[in-house]
């Protein structure tokens, strides 16, 4: 899932100082799960903005709404209709960066501001703790490393063993919270009985499927542009 953190309040408030009718849009999927942008956070932020502007004697209308996903046309439609119908002049979205782009593309002249900083693709390590697990590089190599990604989980993204900053299995960048990924890979390969595989050199990665190759698209031919839907 995508993990995001809410932006500082003053930053968000700063985005909409010049606007009058503001909609705070929550997203009901990833950011709900990571407790940063679901309906509860949308309501809280909207309430906070109302309090803050009231204290400055500014009269603004601040509404909130949450949809299941801000990255699907069908779910976003009610938001778009609301923006139009209620003369909303600015939207703060608590969805990840995808939601910001997706909404902004559809709203055109109405500005869409990010309410969260999208941080990583991660998993819940324990209730309340999320950790990065994947970087979306476009060409997965974890079959070589026992299911552990050295791109997402190594501070230096090293492919062939640890650097000199690996001390007692911890990463020198943040020894308290971060294990050295190459220690983890070593242990896992041992567990899998494949330690010898680590003697094979992992060649330099082709970074073109990552962002280096330009904007990425994926097409699923089996449902893409169906003729009977687009006569």
């Amino acid at each position: 899932m995508i993990v995001a953190d809410q932006k500082p309040f003053h930053e968000i408030k700063g985005f909409v100082e010049a606007h009058q009718n503001i909609l705070v849009a929550g997203c009901g999927t990833c950011v709900t799960v990571c407790l940063s942008g679901g309906a509860a956070e949308a309501r809280l932020l909207a309430s906070g903005l109302r309090i803050a502007f009231q204290r400055e004697n500014q009269t603004k209308t601040i509404e909130e709404d949450t949809v299941l996903r801000q990255c699907d046309e069908e779910f976003v439609l009610p938001l778009l209709q609301r923006v139009k119908g209620e003369n909303i002049d600015a939207v703060i979205t608590l969805a990840c960066g995808v939601g910001v782009n997706f909404l902004a593309d559809r709203l055109g002249h109405i500005p869409v501001f990010p309410g969260v900083n999208t941080t990583f693709y991660g998993a819940v390590m324990e209730p309340g703790l999320w950790a990065e697990m994947c970087s979306g590089c476009g060409q997965c190599i974890t079959h070589l490393t026992g299911g552990i990604c050295p791109i997402a989980r190594c501070s230096k993204r090293l492919f062939n063993g640890p650097c000199g900053g690996s001390e007692r299995g911890r990463c020198e960048v943040d020894p308290q919270n971060t294990p050295c990924v190459w220690q983890l890979i070593l242990d896992r390969m041992k567990q899998l009985g494949r330690l010898h595989d680590l003697q094979n050199f992992i060649p330099a990665k082709d970074w073109r499927p990552a962002l280096d190759g330009g904007v990425r698209h994926t097409v699923r031919e089996r449902i893409y542009r169906l003729d009977y839907k687009n006569p």
């Binding site: 709900t32 956070e41 204290r55």
Partner: protein, 734 residues
């Protein structure tokens, strides 16, 4: 709150109707109960098909027990009385003598011990007398039809009550000068003082029910004449005669039928008794007779019964209290002969009873005739069973077979059209509450007959209930000692017929009411679309009840209604049936409407207080607008403040509050494990957020009750209202 599918507040009467019309029999303790929360509003509302809490299901009239316990804990004793009266016209009587099947089934027994529901009922009745008198209403007969009820016991008066409510002209015939039947004449005063019975009867009479006391049907007026003058007749004549034993010596002077004995004592004509009295029988009437004899100064009272201590039909607590009063119980002994000297009782010969019931559980006593014992006694009181006095139906067409009135338990009809029967004459010996339930059914049958001319077939009543509280949930609930009714010292008790039980005081009642688990009034997912399946509810639930399988589920029959999942749900998708904070927003909105806000005392404080900390209703009563305006304090009583969400903590500022304080219960006093920790963290989160907005830190405070709520809260309110922010913070605010 989204509009629910026609929620209606149902009383016992409606419920009976509902179940007559085909409610499925189902115990909902299995997985099938998962859907029960779906149609429930956030108040105590029961919808057709919903399983009832065990207490209500077990109550023969299905009193909304959970509802009145909740109303008590909210300080709304008047609402509690309304709920009681909706199902039962005899709350005062039942508050004293009901055998409380509700408590037997109370789901709290899995945690520690059942809630003292009967005592709570008594508390309500005794603390709402003025209100009860004020709510009385005469009901004009609008149906143009008259119904005669023979007998003024609990069954007869319930029929009269219900039919009067339906607009019938009802007339109750009573052979005695006093109304109440067995309640007035056979239940000893130490259990049910007359004034307590009178409270209920006065209420019924105030509706316009007419009575003809000291009127013996069959003597003073014939049943046929009554039938001619009325559109329907209900025989609620009870079982007013004791069965006698055809054993040698039973005609001796000093052998009394039990009911006659109790009746005479209740009416101030106790028979002269010697120093040793034997009661034959092991039921509740036997215990009443024994304890009555003790109070008449009899030095040694014995009870002899066929049954073993475990088999005795009397309630165990009655047996215990009788033993405490010095009554000796001779178990497994049956009567063989009354020994007499000069025609007077001199003793009793008893024979060993080896077995009371056969393999099918039928009464079929077997004796060892060789084993006998003799007891020297001066009097013998026979309480081995009761039968109806059917003199009122003599010389009528009504069918009587082997001394029993012929009536159909499904239609409550007798052999004659328009003549119905209810209460013990129909059901056999039973409790007051069963007689009341039977009265409700008879009223339905009569109403149907008078409207259609047809007999109504009342199906056997089976009510779906929540089932047992699973042990894994019960083991995680906090134990709280059950408050028992305080009884007088046994030596004091036997001095006279004064009531032996002291009522709960307000503090005791409030403490006991909060022991109610509020079954099936917990959390429910408002819509499956809102749920992201994030697992937060499952992770914070202190009882391991919430689960996520695609979407969250909080099985109503397991949820303990702590509200933590609702407070933490990031999708704001979990609603609580019992306390919806959106009411808070509405209340604040009304109070702080611009025109009013000018008048309000500032700084204006919103105080969320834990409802469960109160020991009186001083702070439970709704505040007047003037009080709020004058003091600048709005109290919001929450059944555990742990259920307040971050939004609940922040929103008051949006609505114009200057300060917010959350007052939790005393340290480690919370009903719900983890609630205190989660609330503390939530407050810290909200404080941080408010600080980012620019509010000073003192704006939102978390406090705990110190000592009694009534003593400590005003001090906390004052402190929070007037505490200024530290200088350093003021600087940073600039």
């Amino acid at each position: 709150m989204p509009q629910q599918a026609n929620p209606v507040s149902l009383n016992g009467f409606d419920l009976l109707f509902m179940y007559f019309t085909g409610t499925k029999v189902k115990n909902m303790s299995g997985t099938g109960a998962r859907s029960i929360g779906k149609n429930m509003d956030n108040r105590s509302v029961i919808l057709p098909g919903d399983p009832l809490p065990n207490c209500s299901a077990a109550c023969p009239v299905h009193t909304d027990t959970r509802g009145y316990a909740e109303a008590i804990s909210e300080g709304n004793y008047e609402k509690a009385l309304d709920l009681l009266l909706q199902a039962n016209p005899f709350p005062s009587v039942c508050g004293r003598i009901c055998h409380h099947p509700c408590e037997k089934e109370c789901r709290r027994k899995e945690v520690d011990a059942p809630v003292s529901l009967r005592m709570l009922k008594r508390f309500v009745v005794e603390n709402t007398r003025e209100y009860r008198r004020a709510r009385r209403q005469r009901i004009e007969p609008t149906q143009g039809k008259k119904v005669a009820i023979i007998g003024s016991g609990p069954a007869g008066l319930t029929v009269a009550h219900d039919l009067a409510l339906l607009g019938y002209h009802t007339i109750v015939f009573e052979q005695d000068s006093q109304l109440g039947g067995m309640l007035a004449h056979a239940i000893p005063r130490y259990r049910l003082p007359l004034h307590a019975l009178r409270e209920d009867i006065d209420d019924i009479l105030a509706m316009g029910v007419e009575t003809r006391t000291a009127c013996r049907v069959g003597v003073d007026i014939s049943l046929e004449e009554i039938r001619k003058k009325h559109d329907a007749v209900v025989l609620a004549i009870g079982l007013s005669e004791s069965v006698t034993l055809p054993i040698p010596g039973s005609e001796s002077e000093g052998v009394f039928p039990g009911i006659t004995f109790l009746w005479d004592v209740a009416n101030g004509h106790p028979p002269p008794l010697g120093d040793r009295v034997l009661i034959i029988g092991g039921g509740n009437v036997a215990v009443d007779a024994a304890r009555t004899a003790r109070r008449l100064g009899v030095g040694q009272v014995f009870m002899a019964c066929l049954e073993t201590p475990e088999e005795m039909p009397a309630w165990q607590w009655e047996i215990q209290e009788a033993r405490e009063e010095g009554i000796e119980i001779l178990n497994s002994w049956g009567p063989k002969a009354v020994l007499s000297r000069g025609g007077k009782v001199a003793g009793m010969e008893l024979k060993r009873c080896t077995r009371v019931f056969d393999d099918h559980g039928r009464f079929a006593p077997q004796y060892d005739e060789a084993r006998t014992m003799t007891l020297d006694v001066d009097q013998v009181i026979m309480t081995i069973g009761q039968r109806a006095d059917l003199s009122c139906v003599k010389e009528t067409e009504l069918a009587v077979k082997r001394g029993r009135l012929m009536c159909d338990s499904h239609t409550l009809s007798t052999s004659e059209p328009g003549v119905f029967a209810c209460g013990e004459v129909l059901t056999g010996p039973g409790s007051a509450i069963h007689a009341i339930a039977s009265g409700h059914r008879a009223a339905q049958a009569v109403h149907h007959y008078l409207q259609t001319g047809e007999r109504l077939v009342l199906p056997r009543e089976d009510v779906p209930s929540l089932g047992l509280l699973p042990q894994r949930v019960a083991s995680l609930a906090r134990k709280m000692t059950r408050r028992e009714a305080a009884l007088l010292d046994p030596r004091e008790r036997i001095g006279d017929f004064s009531e032996i039980e002291s009522p709960f005081n307000e503090r005791e009642a409030l403490q006991e009411a909060r022991r109610c688990l509020a079954c099936a009034t917990g959390a429910r997912l408002e819509s499956s679309q809102a749920c992201a399946g994030c697992l937060t509810c499952a992770r914070v639930c202190p009882f391991g009840v919430a689960t996520v399988d695609r979407t969250a589920a909080m099985p109503a029959e397991e949820c303990q209604a702590c509200g933590l999942c609702a407070a933490e749900c990031p999708a704001a998708g979990i609603a609580l049936k019992r306390f919806a904070t959106n009411q808070m927003k509405q209340t604040l909105g009304e109070i702080l409407a611009p025109a009013r806000a000018v008048k309000i005392w500032r700084p204006f404080l919103v105080a969320y207080c834990c409802l469960y900390e109160t020991t009186s209703r001083k702070y439970l009563k709704p505040q007047s607008l003037e009080e709020i305006e004058g003091s600048g304090i709005l109290r919001i009583m929450v059944p555990c403040v742990g259920r307040l969400s971050s939004l609940d903590l922040v929103e008051p500022f949006e609505m114009g509050a200057d300060r917010v304080v959350v007052i939790a219960c005393k340290e480690e006093g919370c009903l719900y494990m983890g609630s205190e920790e989660l609330l503390g963290r939530r407050v810290a989160h909200a404080q941080k957020f408010l600080k980012e907005i620019g509010l000073e830190k003192a704006s939102l405070q978390f406090r705990q009750t110190r000592g009694s709520a009534e003593a400590s809260w005003p001090a906390i309110w004052k402190e929070v209202q007037h505490e200024t922010a530290p200088e350093s913070e003021k600087e940073s605010l600039k």
